[in-house]
Symmetry: C2
Subunit: 447 residues, 2 copies
């Protein structure tokens, strides 16, 4: 059997490795348009923060290892350009020499990932206007900072990649201004929690310009000028971190169904509307375990997990994925910020009758030195009593705590049920009542 | 209604406060034999570690607050000595003046806690041989260290209180030897994980004497001599940290049923065999959510939670507790050690057909600076596929991670279900596959 995979990062290489391991006689062909495979894209801000580290550190497994040790036919520099579902072929161009290629498949995996959204505005094509998604982007940013002695940067967008990059650039003593058109920082977040993140950014000398619409970028004698409706920000470098979108055009052009956020629609077995064609990773959608509806949350764990599940299905071990809870975490300077499930507004949109609480608690026990404030937002449904989501912010004890709620959401637990869980307590790590339990106890009064 | 409570710590004062808050016209009487109420016993090792901190820092709420602000009739120095279930009375002695007292109750809560096990061996009554449970014990240890300029201590027992005290004493530059009769450190732990804890103790110059039975303690010119069958250890201070047992005699003498570990048997509503009498905290048992059987795990969260539930039940809001998962965590020098659910041996004893895995993973992502090794042990049942328990050891990222498994156990999740959970990932906090997921994926191959 010939299993062809388009895209050689998280989902693609996970599927390739697992398929070859499960069923060594499967011919596994991976077509990757760049020269980079299997790297930790999420690690890039932290790599950029350190001038002395090589970008290549982020490579998890080298192409040679896949080829020689694992027996995967990995073609880098092969750009897939068309899928023919009737004749089960993928065609494209070899980047280096412009030669065409054509592969026949029995099973196909589309793992084309996503790409940064670049606004269609004047100046976003200027040198020094960069985005961060691929390893090549990382190299480009790092060498630009070095070669141009970047002192000032503007980040367009205030999502978690923007925030991680703000920290990375401040680490390197680069002045940072962040710009976004909408007025709210992290609009999905409870305002009390978002205010803590905002303060952390201001305390770290990040200039925040929320509610500013960029109209274009201009080149001037010194560098660049980011022009907004009501102000203008000078910069040596501009980072476009507005968001990403799924690379689903190849699939759509082949008549494969796309849906939410233009991501490729897949069933729980990761099959697209063509049953011989799978999709996984940032290009594909998933089911949200709280709503039961389709969602598009491009994150690394689900890409890896979906890659594995595709391999299982292709190799004859039927595997269905349950879905995502929408769990995510990021660090911004000295804060840990985490969420899972639905915010109040999302819960309303999903036709729940939600209520929420916000509590302040401590990261360590009463009278334990070093305790920090943790803020927890919990959302519950008044109709069913179900727990629907959580958000947390604090300098410690946030990142892993969120997982308890994620597991509760997978089990469709009620707030009452969650409030009875036996969570760990020792003075260096928690109050007797874990902050999550304190929040659940408060929520219980409302649901 | 008159609600009498024997014992003024976690369970007792939680019940008292909540009952008074829920139903202010309830007469709430608390009888506490010491002068201390509502303190963080778990915080004592950390308080002892710091010569400059007052033991009184550990008091969460002062007696006056309960009396004046909350309207609780709190009698300190009142030692309850007998319960008469027929006439619904509690009698005892006022410690200060030896006068008798007698209270009639409508509902009674026994929250008498536990006490350290002191071996019936020569010398355990010598000055300088101390135990740690009450706040008074804490004061005694702290003043003994100061007044006697303690330079060397022997700790009898290697449970988590012993281990926390070893760290506390080393903090104060006191040489520490630990002694226990059985050969294994933390016998409930997977040996690979226990070996890490052992190394941490040795690296911090704690002398470990496992497999040494103490035959007695002798006084010598310099201080004390802990005599074992095959060796003798000199010390300025000896700490008995062998374990605790429930203070259930008062209940047993009144004909109230006791069970596992001689703890007072309670139903899910915290009622004893006499329906007007409740028991909560370290003196009472609980249901284990994994086995469905009775268990006795004296820990602070369940004491507080049970106190609340008793108040709810007494005040006419029927509340049943689901039970405990056996979650616990402690810090030992630079290690976090956590568990929840059953070990392999416990699962066998509970008639499961268990298998286990042990994996090594990292606390942060591939190539992220500062990543540390985390070891995870997961136990699953081959018959049902259920996840049964987890243990974890590592320098970071352990304490809160265990909660995800605890929630899974409350939901009787399978290993397969758990392996699909959407746990948080960001490079500073986790590999893409959280260590728990890596362990679950391995366990799946066995269950």
């Amino acid at each position: 059997m010939r299993f062809v995979i388009i895209g050689g990062d998280a989902a693609g290489m996970s599927a390739a490795s697992r398929a070859k391991r499960m069923q060594p006689d499967t011919e596994v062909i991976v077509l990757e348009k760049t020269e980079d495979v299997s790297y930790s894209a999420c690690g890039m801000p932290y790599n950029i923060a350190d001038a002395d580290r090589e970008v290549e550190d982020l490579v998890v497994r080298k192409a040679e290892v896949f080829r020689q040790k694992q027996g995967i036919d990995l073609f880098t520099g092969y750009r897939a350009e068309a899928i023919d579902p009737v004749n089960r072929t993928v065609t494209g161009t070899i980047v280096d020499n412009g030669e065409p290629f054509r592969f026949v498949y029995d099973r196909l995996l589309i793992a084309t990932g996503g790409r940064p959204i670049i606004p269609d505005l004047p100046g976003f094509d200027l040198p020094g206007v960069l985005a961060l998604k691929s390893l090549e982007d990382g190299r480009r940013i790092k060498s630009f900072i070095r070669n141009q002695s970047v002192k000032k940067a503007v980040i367009a967008g205030m999502g978690y990649i923007g925030l991680e990059m703000a920290e990375a650039l401040r680490e390197r003593n680069i002045a940072v201004d962040m710009v976004k058109p909408r007025p709210d920082l992290l609009p999905w977040m409870h305002r009390d929690l978002a205010a803590i993140v905002e303060k952390e950014l201001i305390d770290n000398q990040v200039g925040l310009h929320a509610g500013c619409t960029i109209t274009g970028i201009e080149k001037n004698a010194d560098g660049l000028n980011v022009v907004c409706e009501d102000r203008s920000l000078s910069a040596d470098m501009v980072l476009a971190a507005i968001g990403i979108r799924p690379n689903s055009e190849l699939a759509a052009d082949a008549g494969i169904e796309t849906g939410i956020n233009d991501a490729i629609s897949v069933n729980r077995h990761l099959q697209t509307s063509d049953e011989a064609i799978y999709a996984a990773g940032d290009c594909a959608d998933a089911v949200h375990v709280v709503t039961g509806e389709k969602t598009w949350i491009p994150l690394a764990l689900r890409a890896n997990r979906a890659g594995w599940a595709v391999a299982d299905n292709v190799c004859g071990r039927p595997t269905a994925l349950e879905g995502v809870a929408g769990t995510s975490v990021f660090k911004v300077f000295n804060l840990e910020v985490a969420r899972t499930g639905l915010s109040l507004a999302e819960a309303r949109r999903a036709d729940f009758e939600p209520v929420e609480v916000v509590i302040k608690s401590r990261s360590r026990a009463h009278a334990h030195p070093g305790a920090q404030t943790i803020r927890v937002n919990l959302v519950g449904d008044t109709r069913s009593g179900r727990l629907l989501g959580a958000q947390m912010v604090g300098p410690e004890g946030v990142a892993h705590r969120i997982n308890a709620v994620a597991v509760a959401l997978h089990n469709r637990m009620t707030a009452a049920g969650f409030s009875q869980t036996d969570l760990a307590y020792a003075p260096p790590f928690s109050p007797v009542w874990d902050p999550l339990l304190t929040a659940a106890n408060q929520l219980l009064k409302k649901v």
